[in-house]
């Protein structure tokens, strides 16, 4: 019984660890009218921080495939905004203020 409990706790810890490790963090710079290219895989649960390195305000939002939207609110120069990716599938990152800013991304399922 004690052995079973230890194995269960160890397995749980491993699962928790893998889940924790899967929530990666990414940083994307906004430079003037462009978003920094995203080279890493993006997964549900990942935390993305947008850093406004431009000399003007931006207002980034992410539209998921189901039409739901994560709005990051206004970022004046130098400000950071963070979002946790919610849905797998294609998504679009845009700026409300500057429609020319656009990045199409693919969000993968959470790694288990």
């Amino acid at each position: 019984m004690r052995t079973l409990l230890i194995v269960t706790v160890a397995l749980g810890a491993c699962l928790l660890g893998s889940r924790f490790a899967s929530a990666a963090e990414h940083t994307i710079a906004i430079t003037h009218m462009e978003l920094q290219e995203i080279k890493e895989e993006l997964r549900v649960g990942d935390v993305v921080t947008f850093v406004n390195e431009a000399d003007m305000a931006h207002n980034i939002y992410i539209t998921y495939e189901d039409g739901s939207v994560d709005n990051l609110d206004t970022q004046v120069p130098g400000m950071k905004r963070t979002v946790t990716l919610k849905h797998a599938g294609p998504a679009v990152i845009k700026c409300w203020i500057h429609p020319i800013i656009r990045s199409d991304i693919e969000i993968l399922d959470k790694a288990e």
Partner: protein, 361 residues
């Protein structure tokens, strides 16, 4: 001709074939990012009108007219579009054409505070110029269209503008036999359809490009093309007056949306944004300043009659509310600086861009 980017010579030939008076010669863009050290200050402006080359390069004209892959620009499409643009039969009453509100004699606007269409009801917003529309990344004052093809639907079918249905417009054009060869030349084998009708109008609009002005000649290296006052105005525009925060690029707009604090109930782009996006409430697209009409009117609702009133507004900083753009900060200009700014804006006006009004089939 299948390339979405037509070479200058092709476009020039095409436009010449249409009888469009063109003085435009595009210059290759060699812009570089401005370094912090290049930020212009009043002190710099006063010290002999030294203008950084990096700053000037940001306003250099492009060399090609862009067009979407789905509707490459050809002379035949532009010619068909020119006919449709001037044809009042595309409106419900047969009395209003695209050219009614986008009149070349008024720099492709209408000079009115707000437009008037088939019903005679004054529209809620001012008719913007169509010049340089090929480069727009968001169309309409509220940005609800992403391409010229999609934009063309909106005034055509709006009740108080042209009041037609798309099917009705297609049927009416089909019934005019003289259009058949024009459609065949522009879209071989496709006939008169919604797609070809809108595509042709969009193509014609892409050929409406501001003529070169004295500002362009200065940017290209002719130092005497504009006055010292205009050069000081250019530096102010990019510096203390903060105009270029939004009126940037060679078109003097970055197509951005801002609430600039006008006394207006119109929520603009806010109509298409979730309520949580505060900054889009009362936000409208930044208009181009190329060929800006010195006699107004100005703003999305045409409420300001003079450029002095516009500058007064920016000096005041606009109505304070949560949606007010962070770029809106009160400025203070001396009478001399105001005069310099006006002198600079004058340099953005080239010879009028005009086309031959077609004899309609």
């Amino acid at each position: 001709m299948n390339s979405p980017w037509l070479m200058l010579c092709t476009v020039s030939a095409a436009i010449a074939a249409l009888g469009i008076a063109v003085e435009t010669q595009f210059i290759h863009v060699g812009g570089r990012a401005l370094s912090a050290a290049s930020v212009v200050s009043r002190a710099n402006a006063a010290a002999g009108i030294a203008v950084p080359d990096e700053l000037k390069a940001k306003f250099r004209r492009p060399e090609k007219i862009p067009a979407p892959k789905a509707n490459p620009l050809t002379p035949e499409k532009a010619d068909l579009g020119r006919h449709l643009f001037f044809d009042t039969r595309l409106s419900k009453t047969g009395t209003v054409s695209c050219a009614s509100c986008h009149n070349q004699a008024f720099d492709w606007g209408d000079g009115l505070q707000r437009g008037i269409g088939v019903t005679g009801v004054e529209l809620p917003r001012r008719s913007p110029t169509l010049l340089n529309a090929a480069w727009l990344t968001a169309l309409m004052w509220d940005g609800r269209a992403e391409t010229l093809e999609r934009q063309a639907v909106l005034p055509l079918t709006a009740e108080h503008e042209m009041g037609m249905t798309l099917d009705g417009a297609v049927e009416r054009v089909k019934a005019i036999k003289g259009y058949a060869p024009l459609f065949e030349a522009a879209y071989p084998g496709e006939g008169v359809t919604t797609k070809t009708l809108l595509g042709a109008i969009a193509s014609f609009q892409r050929t409406l490009v501001s003529n070169r002005s004295s500002f362009d000649r200065w940017i290209d290296g002719d130092d005497g093309a504009i006055s010292d006052a205009a050069k000081r105005g250019f530096l102010l525009f990019n510096g203390e007056a903060r105009c270029s925060k939004c009126h940037s690029t060679w078109r003097f707009t970055d197509d951005s949306f801002h609430d600039i604090g006008l006394e207006s109930e119109d929520v603009g782009r806010g109509q298409f944004a979730p309520p949580s996006v505060t900054i889009m409430q009362h936000a409208f697209k930044t208009p181009t300043l190329r060929d800006v009409r010195m006699s107004g009117p100005y703003m999305h609702d045409g409420a300001m009659k003079t450029l002095d009133a516009v500058i007064d507004h920016y000096e005041d900083g606009g109505k304070k509310r949560p949606s007010l753009s962070p770029e809106m900060k009160a400025i203070k200009l001396t009478p001399g600086e105001r005069s310099d700014l006006m002198a600079f804006l004058e340099t953005l006006r080239g010879p009028p861009f005009q086309v031959d009004v077609p004899r309609l089939p």
